[in-house]
Symmetry: C2
């Protein structure tokens, strides 16, 4: 079977008549956004990479910006789901441990879209909305760390903000590799 392109998970389609679904388009878009940056990416680049005409892409998405929005939602949904699941996991230290482990898992599975999220500059409503969601997430994690510190379940000789920076600085630095 030489004539097949890898589409989104579990899907395969004939080359030359790609027949992409949204996931397949999105996967490629996220990759190219990460390589060249969102602004420097043109629809022509995406079309070339997909071996599709530019026009065909618009059958799947309304705009270039929507591709960004979908990618950012993917990352944020995954992070927020971990946070959600951590809620009913006992004391603060247990919830924090679950959350950090989960966040690493998200990073492994969704590194490209998480990287996009971390590089936002707030140049549009879509970017600013995603940044807001990220800030809420960051805040809840900070609160959880503070709570665990009050518990005495993690060391308190580090200022709260510093502990958060260290933890997420570590995680975020993974995206540079």
């Amino acid at each position: 079977m030489p004539n097949w392109l890898q589409m989104s998970t579990g899907t395969q389609l004939r080359r030359g008549r790609p027949g992409y679904d949204l996931q397949g388009i999105l996967d490629v878009a996220v990759t190219v956004f990460n390589t060249h940056g969102y602004d420097a990416t043109t629809m022509d680049m995406l079309a070339a990479r997909l071996k599709l005409s530019k026009g065909a892409i618009y059958h799947h998405v309304a705009s270039k910006e929507q591709l960004l929005e979908l990618a950012l939602d993917r990352a944020l949904d995954a992070l927020e789901e971990i946070l959600e699941q951590s809620q009913d996991r006992g004391d603060a230290a247990s919830r924090l441990a679950f959350l950090l482990e989960g966040a690493v898992g998200v990073l492994v599975r969704e590194l490209p879209s998480v990287t996009l999220l971390l590089r936002l500059r707030g140049n549009s409503d879509v970017e600013r909305t995603a940044m807001d969601r990220r800030r809420v997430f960051d805040k809840e994690v900070a609160d959880l760390i503070a709570e665990a510190q009050r518990d005495g379940s993690i060391r308190t000789d580090i200022a709260p903000g510093v502990a958060e920076r260290l933890l997420f600085g570590m995680l975020n630095s993974l995206t540079e590799w």
Copy 2:
């Protein structure tokens, strides 16, 4: 003296008739590039920020891309000068110490243009040329570290590439703050 704008170092000019020199234009451009990213920055933004017409900017530079080029040259010139000065500073450990101290100094003085340098994606000849110069610099630092390790003047229980990553990861992380 209410009616003055801060221009490049040591220069002041009347508001309304800005009379910028290249340095003043460049300082503002680098700031805006860092805020919104190079691609998302428009000449209209720069003009608004400078309180100048778009056309006037082209009296000082040939293109938007030249502004980027000048900024990157500024960062690279500063880094390379430190490397140059370190050459005749004795043994590898001394040269390395001088270089690291100097690199921190460059970061303090030229943080905005260094930040631009660290964020390049190689989307144009200008970007790729700057990335090449940076790679040469990185390589020379790596060699110096390797030499200091052979000397026995710094610990060798860390793999060479890792030591470099740690050192420059630390420095580069300063740009995130």
